[in-house]
Symmetry: C2
Subunit: 239 residues, 2 copies
Amino acid sequence: MPKYEEIANIIRQRIRQGRYPANTLLPNQTDLVQEFDASRMTIKKAITILTMEGLVLSRRGAGTKVLDHSFWNKSTAPADQYRGMSRDLADIGKTLSSKVITFEVTFPTPEIKERLMLADQQPVYKIIRLRIIDGVNSVLEHTYMPVSLVPGLTDDVLAQSIYTYLKETLHLTFAGAFRNIQADKADEYDQQYLDCAPIDPVLEVEQVVYLDNGQPIEYSRSRNRYDRRGYTFLDVKNT
Amino acid sequence: MPKYEEIANIIRQRIRQGRYPANTLLPNQTDLVQEFDASRMTIKKAITILTMEGLVLSRRGAGTKVLDHSFWNKSTAPADQYRGMSRDLADIGKTLSSKVITFEVTFPTPEIKERLMLADQQPVYKIIRLRIIDGVNSVLEHTYMPVSLVPGLTDDVLAQSIYTYLKETLHLTFAGAFRNIQADKADEYDQQYLDCAPIDPVLEVEQVVYLDNGQPIEYSRSRNRYDRRGYTFLDVKNT
DNA sequence: TAGTGGTCTAGACCACTGG
DNA sequence: CAGTGGTCTAGACCACTAG
């Protein structure tokens, strides 16, 4: 692990523990240089990480302030499960249990072929899973993955976390994801599996996930019960 | 403007112009060091910007590849208006025209007071605007701003872009925003102004926008017609 | 093994904030 | 004005990819 990441971890811990209380200033960067025996560029990089996480805010001439974002958890939102991948992409697959509804191999439609950047005749997995959070049917997940990139996918894996399998077993690493979020009416499928009424809206999170070599590994549409899941994130100006 | 930003702009332009075509490699960093007469750290910083924008992807040992994300625009999504603030926060206020429905000064509810981090007795503007995109009523925006931070707000400003006023006239700069997105049923207000039926869902984008000194400047809830607006963004792993 | 990007340094200058 | 963070350099070493 890079030095700047270690330093960021230490400072983050100190903030959480209250050693650097909210609305006070962090030690200045030259002091941190001394304490961590690092160059200022390295300290700056560590602080940038914390800035992107919304923990601190630096201003030229004024120092680096510790922010108070405690109210984020007291949100009125239905349930803030989704998070950005600032820390780790695998959090997407974080839930209690899954029920596999469909698991088959097929040729992709033109749309899916394009999103996964596939050549002709390349088969994909088509997976539909019901995600059950705290015993409540919450998300209906339609997933497509190229068979060539994900050998050995089984029902067992699907019942757990796909991403744990991709990371731990196949040792794949991710570059990021492209997402589109929209509201939609509940279709018959949603109504059947999410136990919702025809008038209940659905929050659809559509995403393409990329490996660190730029190859798409997944296209999915997650249809969330509107009263169960929201999508929460921080959008920090980078500089 | 910092040197690394200028370099990023130049490289971005070359990518758009096709001088660095998709799926080819950028010149390596030592070559770029020579061309731009900069240090490698500066070149790296420029490339990081482009990485965050999804334009390129670097891999240790393999070079920096130009990505092809042309299909993002051919999305099946209803309309991708919203974007992250990677480039500029003001884009949030980018729309054709507005109709002011409510514009008053009031004391905040406890919830809004907390989100705007206000002391007691501090009044806020309460603004409700209908945003009309291409002649169609698309978004109903409920906005709260501290009066003390935004002097001189007028109907004229509201009819245009609030953010242009904040930036150009008041010279405020922004640190970022916290957002929560969820689906909801259309309430009577939505039905009246967005011309939608009771069964039509609504996409609600809730946000708190912060100034660069950490002070919240706005709390808002934007209620979008589900068939008019989605929320589209890139989530890139940072390192 | 050659070539790439990732990290790190020690120092420097500058822009900005706030008393 | 003193003190802060933002930028930038010239060089170094290392981890990784790909032939």
